[in-house]
């Protein structure tokens, strides 16, 4: 098969990829400098999670757990911020925790940054940051079964049993919703939190979304935000455009470039293959 190639395909393969890199860079920079607003539809998975949060009973407890290494945070950030904001808007209590080393600081920065308006909710009463817990899947399992077994102090080093919110939060059964942010983290939650009967709704890394569809169908996931796109959709539902809208505006053109390159590459491949066949 490789032997039956004409010079044209070989030339493409051996050309300098830096030209293509440059092309991508241009089509990413242009929409930043000249932003174009394009309307977007909201997918069903996003809507389901939004509705679920909307219907949470007053005073319900919700866990938001960060689970990506720092490099993937830009992908999670719009969804994480939008859903956290929604939780702060609603009369529910929120527990922030991380099972991957990098995320506790990111969650803290998000909560103290300009993206989130806490609506006057009080730390320790309406929300709490528990920082990082080691052990990966086993750590999450230990936490889900008993919130107080391992973590004795919060992000600030205060004993958690003195915080009013942690009096009601005993284990996963006392929760109304568990929101993992990430890829593996969602699988861990499905295996370790799901069996407690706690509803799970996630913000997922884009590459994992197709793999999570079976769990959406069975209701093991009550809803799912597809990476930045889900974040942008959630912002639409909340009528408050933010980071997600910025990202979606910026990456649209580069998607077109990618598709064009796939098609162009294949057209050249077929044309040159056809030529070889004719010569034979």
């Amino acid at each position: 098969m490789k032997g039956s190639e004409s010079g044209l395909t070989a030339k493409i393969r051996s050309n300098q990829p830096q030209v293509i890199y440059g092309l991508l860079l241009i089509f990413i920079i242009v929409p930043i400098l000249y932003p174009i607003a394009v309307p977007m539809a909201v997918t069903e998975d996003t809507k389901k999670l939004y509705d679920f949060v909307e219907k949470l009973r007053d005073g319900s407890l919700v866990v938001v757990d960060g689970g990506v290494t720092v490099g993937w945070w830009p992908e999670m950030q719009p969804g994480a911020a939008a859903i956290s904001q929604h939780l702060f808007n609603r009369p529910v209590r929120i527990i922030f925790i991380a099972f991957i080393e990098d995320t506790s600081i990111l969650l803290h920065q998000m909560l103290t940054g300009p993206l989130i308006d806490k609506k006057g909710k009080k730390y320790g009463v309406d929300y709490v940051e528990l920082g990082f817990m080691a052990g990966g899947e086993a750590g999450m399992a230990a936490f889900a079964r008993d919130f107080h077994a391992v973590l004795k102090s919060d992000y600030y080093g205060e004993p958690i049993d003195t915080l009013p919110i942690m009096k009601d939060a005993v284990n996963a059964k006392s929760l109304a919703l568990w929101i993992p942010l990430g890829g593996w983290e969602v699988e861990w939650a499905l295996r370790q939190v799901g069996p407690h009967g706690t509803p799970i709704g996630c913000v997922s890394l884009a590459g994992n979304v197709p793999g999570f569809k079976p769990f959406l169908a069975t209701g093991q996931l009550v809803g799912l935000l597809n990476s930045v796109k889900g974040g942008a959709e959630y912002e639409i539902l909340m009528k408050k455009p933010g980071l997600g809208a910025v990202y979606m505006g910026g990456i649209s053109l580069s998607h077109i470039v990618t598709i064009a390159l796939v098609i162009l590459g294949n057209v050249i491949y077929f044309v040159s293959r056809g030529k070889v066949k004719k010569e034979k």
Binding site: Y21, V70, I105, A134, R145, A149, K213, S252, V262
Partner: protein, 203 residues
């Protein structure tokens, strides 16, 4: 005495007993067993936290070897890396992760390095799109076609081209993809269970 303790059977037995306990406790409700399992699980978390340091020591030893041998082109980088590690640990442990200096390191060095490394994949995916993604046969043609539909449905421009992309993509994801991935996830679970049991019995 220590020869007995060194025997390979001991760790295998530990893993087996703990594994069995956690499995049985999941299916059979005995309060005493639950209490023991809870303690073991919390110990596991403490162990995992302590284990984070082992990797650093291994890496440190590896770097030390390069520095001692003065490996050309690498030893000074190893030394630099060790310095960065020590600096991070010093600030992070003495000042905790809330210390402004730690936050500064985290946001201005760790985050950009990590995020930029991941972003390299973005460049590679476009060049692969042009140079490597080939419709060699029916299967790969189908793969590429699906990829293109999903991409078009993901961006707002897709609707401008054809309003049906979103519906097609949703059908592909929620029906065909769902079916395939249900089979794959079941397969992963079978593999996970069988390999897991084997590992617990030390085979």
């Amino acid at each position: 005495m220590s020869d007995v303790l060194r025997r390979r059977e001991i760790p295998v037995a530990i893993a087996f007993v703990i594994g069995l306990l956690l499995l049985v406790e999941y299916f059979v409700a005995v309060p005493e067993m639950t209490a023991v399992a809870r303690t073991i699980q919390s110990w596991g978390v403490v162990f995992a936290a302590m284990a984070l340091g082992v990797g650093a020591l291994t890496l440190g030893a590896y770097y030390y070897g390069h520095i001692r041998r003065r490996t050309p082109g690498t030893w000074y980088l190893c030394l630099w890396s060790l310095l960065v590690m020590v600096l991070t640990i010093t600030i992070g442990v003495l000042g905790t992760t809330r210390h402004p200096m730690y936050i500064w390191l985290y946001s201005n060095i760790y985050f950009p390095l990590s995020a930029t490394t991941v972003s390299l994949l973005g460049y590679f995916v476009v060049s692969a799109a042009f140079r490597a993604f080939r419709a060699r046969n029916v299967e790969s043609a189908l793969l590429l076609l699906t990829a293109i539909i999903v991409m078009l449905a993901n961006i707002p421009y897709g609707r401008v081209i054809w309003s049906g992309f979103e519906a097609v993509s949703a059908w592909v994801l929620n029906v065909v993809n769902l079916g395939a991935f249900r089979g794959i996830q079941l397969g992963i679970a079978v593999g996970g269970i069988m390999v897991g049991i084997r590992r617990l019995v030390g085979r």
